[in-house]
Amino acid sequence: MKTKIGVLFITLMFALVLSACGNGSDEAKELLNENKNTEAKDGLKIAISVDPDGLDPHRTTASSTFVITNNIYDTLVKVTKDGEIEPSLAASYEQSEDGKTLTFNLREDVQFHDGTALTAKDVAYSFERIKDELGPRKDNYAYITEVNVIDDYTIEFKAESPSASFISDFAYPWAAIVKDGADETLKKDPVGTGPYKLVNWTPQDKIVLEGVDHYNEGQIQNVEFKMMPDSTAQVTSFKKGDIHLIETTGDVVDTLGDATIIEIDNNSVQLMAMNLENDYLSNKKLRQAINMAVDKEELINAVWWGYGKQIGSHYPPVLKGYVDTTGTYPYDVKKAKALVEESGAKGITLNMKLPSDYPNYVAAGQIIAEKLEAIGIHVKIETIEWGTWLTDVYGNRDYDLTVVGHTGRIEGYDLLEKYNSTRSDNYFNYKNTEIDDLLSSIKVELDEERRMDMYEQVQTILAEEVPALYIQEPTRIYGISDDLEGFSAYPIDVFELKDLKFKE
């Protein structure tokens, strides 16, 4: 009997040893690498909480992917920290008089990580791929009707109509240039021209990158993104010195001690959307009442520990053309109550669907619900998982209220276009011909001053009509260990590894 148990244990231990021998050699190599790194003050470690959704920039919309791929691939042009466009793979570019043609002259010294040289063919292929049926951003590039390779280093894009966001559309990380003929294996084996190449990716464990010869060479050779889903683990590792860079939240900032804290305006918009299909919510008075019932400052303090900038319409302060509309409906419970009374909505019940994957949105929703109870509107909260949210709220528009965020864009139009009454992503069910007209004019207006003028009008109308309770432009907070410098973030949700270096 005892021997049986003994045999069982030995078998178990044997299985343990066997199972451990799975992926030996390259792990060992890495360890050697790591030892080398510490000598030369190299080996940057960054915590990330979500795995990238594959490393193919043309096949996803997840920012967790772009944080990584942004360093592996290049784009034709880039956006600076201040939102200006500057050359990257394209040494120069010109836009025709009528605004419908863009010609790029490529750099001639660029190589992919596998050694092949970059030519206009790769660029043409990349946009073919972005625009094919598997490309999630296909619609954003549908207005580009022709891509012509002029010679090896010249390429021309033609649009059906002049577009204000023409050039900026080439700066997003999802407009990355891949190799001619690259297929779906890019998801795990990315080949780009960027300053870093992929060494290996163990899903849910780590992503290891290594610097390459590049016109934009990075200072740090070896970089490791460590996947840490739990924020307590991230902060604890950061404090212990195992991790150099984390993205964090307002509540732990004070506990990070010597670390450098960098706050960056996120260029995105968080709001509580209302479904105007609901009879009560179609009444502007009720929407105004809802806006007056909530003290945004208090809300931002409670949910985001005060890290965020109030907004009055669907437009973040950091974006060009912003006007301050936060004063349109100041916090006033008395007036709000009166407006509810007037609109005949006293005692109604609205459902609020909140995405459980985003605890901040859930918390914000709960606080808003309480405020609405105070002015005589009942709110039935339903917390649903993100996948369900996308189907119910975004797809079927089956909701009354919801709290969500929209990612930032370089050109305001790309943020605002969902208010066009004909758009299928107008989940507010908002219809206003004035806005429709303004948006179509903005799209083709190339004169910046006139465009900004129209952005101002759109903002003022939205702030007045309030199809949503516009909450804030969130602030991203990064904790950076005190031996690291050069960090800066860009208005498109990414940062660049090449900017970073260890202090001497």
């Binding site: 009997m1 992926n23 919309t61 899903p203 464990d205 780590k206 307590t232 195992d242």
Partner: protein, 315 residues
Amino acid sequence: MKEIIRRIASSIVLIIVVSFVTFFMLMLIPGDAVEISLGTEATPERVTELRAALGMDAPWYTQYMSWFTHALAGDFGVSFTYGENVTTLLLSRLPVTLSLMLMAIVIAVPLALTIGVIAALKQNKTFDIIARTLMQMGDAMPQFWIALIFLVYIAAQIEIFPISGFTPFSESVYGGVMSLFLPAVVLAFGMIATLIRIVRSSMLHSLKQDYMLMTRVSGVHPVRAIIKYPLRDALIAPLTVIGIQISGLISGVIVVESIFSLPGVGRLLFSAVLKRDLFLILGLVSFIVTSVIIITLITDILYILLNKKMRRNES
């Protein structure tokens, strides 16, 4: 032997049924991989088009049959999220989870045996009362909570325990053990209370049997008598529940792997569900179900064999 063949056949049917139910449930719940990958950029037209491009617009039974026939041939498909073969992903994760679970068992079982046996021998004495109180507490403390406490108060303070990640045993046996030790203790916590209870009650049961009286009458030394009879029952008692414990361990593994950032099967499954990565979920669920069934089968067979031997011994 006939019994064993019958069990194996019914296990295969069970595996097929479970994979089918999993597939069906994934079709019923809202949200799919396409919607999630498009996120708030999704427009209904884009969703429809992308689904068609990925072959996800076919009726569910066609999709299931196509998956099933491929699976029979050993091809579990490619993960939508990672662009990697499901089998490759699973095999790369298995060492972590297996080692973690085995380590938890190695910690829990001997400890539970010792405590359970002593508690039974000292029934209603101080040791027993303390053990019972601890068991209650062990049951009451959620694993994620213990895991966080360990992380903040042990891993962060003591240099030898890493806060996150897994060191493969091939690289360093010491590093591997250390990187799994705290998570394994957390998992052991989750199963130890049940184990102690089973050991203790089986001991108590045997101690009260008539044959124990017989041993005393016939002058066998009490220690010898205890080793010969009740202890034996107590030793095999955990075996009966270990199959159930392992299915319980899997849910614990998801929590523990997430908190300690271990790249294991549990976390893979969790993220696959969130991303509705159909093939990955199906592959993992089928694998987990298969292993649970096999483990139960093995424990059952072992139990039968041990029982037979005992019966022979007694006669």
